[in-house]
Symmetry: C2
Amino acid sequence: MSARRGCQWFNFGVNVGTVVPVTDLRDATSRAVAALRAHGPMTRAELARRTGLPKSTVSGVTAALLANGTLEETGAAAAPVRPGDPRAGRGRGRPGTLLTLDARRGEVVGVEFGASHVRARVVDAGHGQGPGAVRRLPLAYGAGDALDATLDLVRELTARPGAAPLLGVGLALALGLGTYRPPVPTRPRGMRQGWEDLDLPAALADALGVPVVADNDANCAARAELLWGAARPYEDLVLVKLHAGVGGAVVIDRQVQTGRRGGAGEFGHVPVDPRGPLCRCGGRGCLEVYAGVPAVLAALAVQHGRLPTPREVLEGAAAGDPACRRALRDAGEATGQVAAWLCNALNPQAIVLTGALAGAGELLAGPVRESVARTALPLNADVDVVIGTLGRDAGPLGAGALALASVPV
Amino acid sequence: MSARRGCQWFNFGVNVGTVVPVTDLRDATSRAVAALRAHGPMTRAELARRTGLPKSTVSGVTAALLANGTLEETGAAAAPVRPGDPRAGRGRGRPGTLLTLDARRGEVVGVEFGASHVRARVVDAGHGQGPGAVRRLPLAYGAGDALDATLDLVRELTARPGAAPLLGVGLALALGLGTYRPPVPTRPRGMRQGWEDLDLPAALADALGVPVVADNDANCAARAELLWGAARPYEDLVLVKLHAGVGGAVVIDRQVQTGRRGGAGEFGHVPVDPRGPLCRCGGRGCLEVYAGVPAVLAALAVQHGRLPTPREVLEGAAAGDPACRRALRDAGEATGQVAAWLCNALNPQAIVLTGALAGAGELLAGPVRESVARTALPLNADVDVVIGTLGRDAGPLGAGALALASVPV
């Protein structure tokens, strides 16, 4: 009742019909297509919310795009709904026809550069997951090898029977600490150490003749989990990638937030204990020195008589090995402490865990959840802690999603 | 060159003129007015960017709003520009005619509830700062006293000669740890301890007959600094309020981010040292136990033979007292540690310091800046550390800005 007075006190008397020119419908069309590219299939209601366009305009624009084959209607929206969360119902999760960009228009390839491999996945223009391929490389391979392997993978995937035209390539790159390149469109936000002399996206774009875009690996993983994985029911979340390095992503309103110069999400270098062990960043007791894969392996070196492999740790933990379980619990509790502080700072709906350690499932997520519940303010402790569902495909798929979102409309 | 291929591959062939209905211009008008209410005077270019409306539509809509007196054109944009920052020039800072909502349409009153006072400021519909007033109250006054004082202040301010019609009231409330109310429009995100039994916004709305909205005090301070103060040149920033409690706000793209349930920005409860002293939140070594006003006063109790007042500490430091300076330096260094981790997580352009301790100026900001430079990743350490310019008016002015932004269009 208190909100009644004061309504429409500003826009009365505007005879919009005679004064205002017809809105640029080409612009509305571009915005609708851009939203579908960035966020994947959605209902008309969600498209109106996402673009800020009036429902009548969305209705007209989508009718035209359906008529000319740019869009197609697919089955009812089936994204999981977070129980009891009123925001989760906004256009997602409720039955409703989904608008999908025509998959036959083309496809992109997403590529992630791992420690000793390059992994690629095809994503079609309708956000369908296509085939993938991997190249094994020596540990700490150079940028030239990365270029050759990527060209090889992209050519192999796009030469397959039935491949749609290649529209672009996306790269998921690990941030090389201390190295920085400015965020121009074809440059990644960070490069591996020793890769500074090759502008990998530009070299690939020259060789392939399509746009090539790049982002941090954790940001790519977040894009993939939002579109296809564990992050689908959420608007606001934090992703933590527990891998050789520890990184992450901040997602607000389903947008990955990169910060002023692309440096956001570096949760690996938030300290768990400022008097703890030295970190490669020059800090002390950073999350990475407790929850990175090397830390977990090192913690088990005495028990194993050598550094175990990540797979040995995950399999050991799954089989009930107490030391492996404890190492993962310790990593999870450290992660939960930093996650709790992120909850106090950002109040997200969910913490999504990815990277090699996330393969431990609840053996990792459980301790993270308990640690968050113990550490965050009560106001901010109501947060879901979930494991990403895309595993090692999150990076390449998310790089593909980035490419789809970035191809100019 | 690599971005050429693939352009416009989706929207060719859409004969928008015959298929799509005329965009709802009433909606465009509402969006333009809402953006001006939320973000204050801006150029047409900024209005187009902020609303996502095509420039031609903005041009038409603003012509109509100028013709009917809803808008007026004011002098060239004069917001400070951050040197060397390409983002700072986006519509702000460059010469350009500003569009301002007609100040005579009405005004709002912003009210902040301090520890022993209630402070109010008038803000007119054109975002002009009006007069203010204060009521002193006993320490830890109750919600009933707060209601009476607020009604008294609002009636005094609106009864002055030449006052425009009252459109709404905004409240800046300190978060009572552990108490939470769901974020419905007229309810604050948190209430002081002991205030749970009175729905202050609803009671005020009933008594005054206008909409009453509320938010956390630090979020209000951020709104004010964005509109009128130190945050004007920035898009992405973190505000830290060092007061009796320590809180803050996250601003991305000039929007205060409140998180899932309004709990974002609680930087006071991010630990500086997890083995440090107990905090009222149940944590250990939280920023608040190092950089809250009570911590700074307690650190100087031996030197003063009693707890000094905040003013004594600031004046002592300004006069060169080494103990006062060291107490502020310690608070600043702790703040800088948490600020550095926020830089790693969010990569903002600026850290804005407000609250009583910010009265120390560079004696506080200097140590914060040094601590950030030492602690943040190099990628994220390029951040401005500035003192808010609005002092104790930031809360009430920001509450007024919230009210202006919230009155229904």
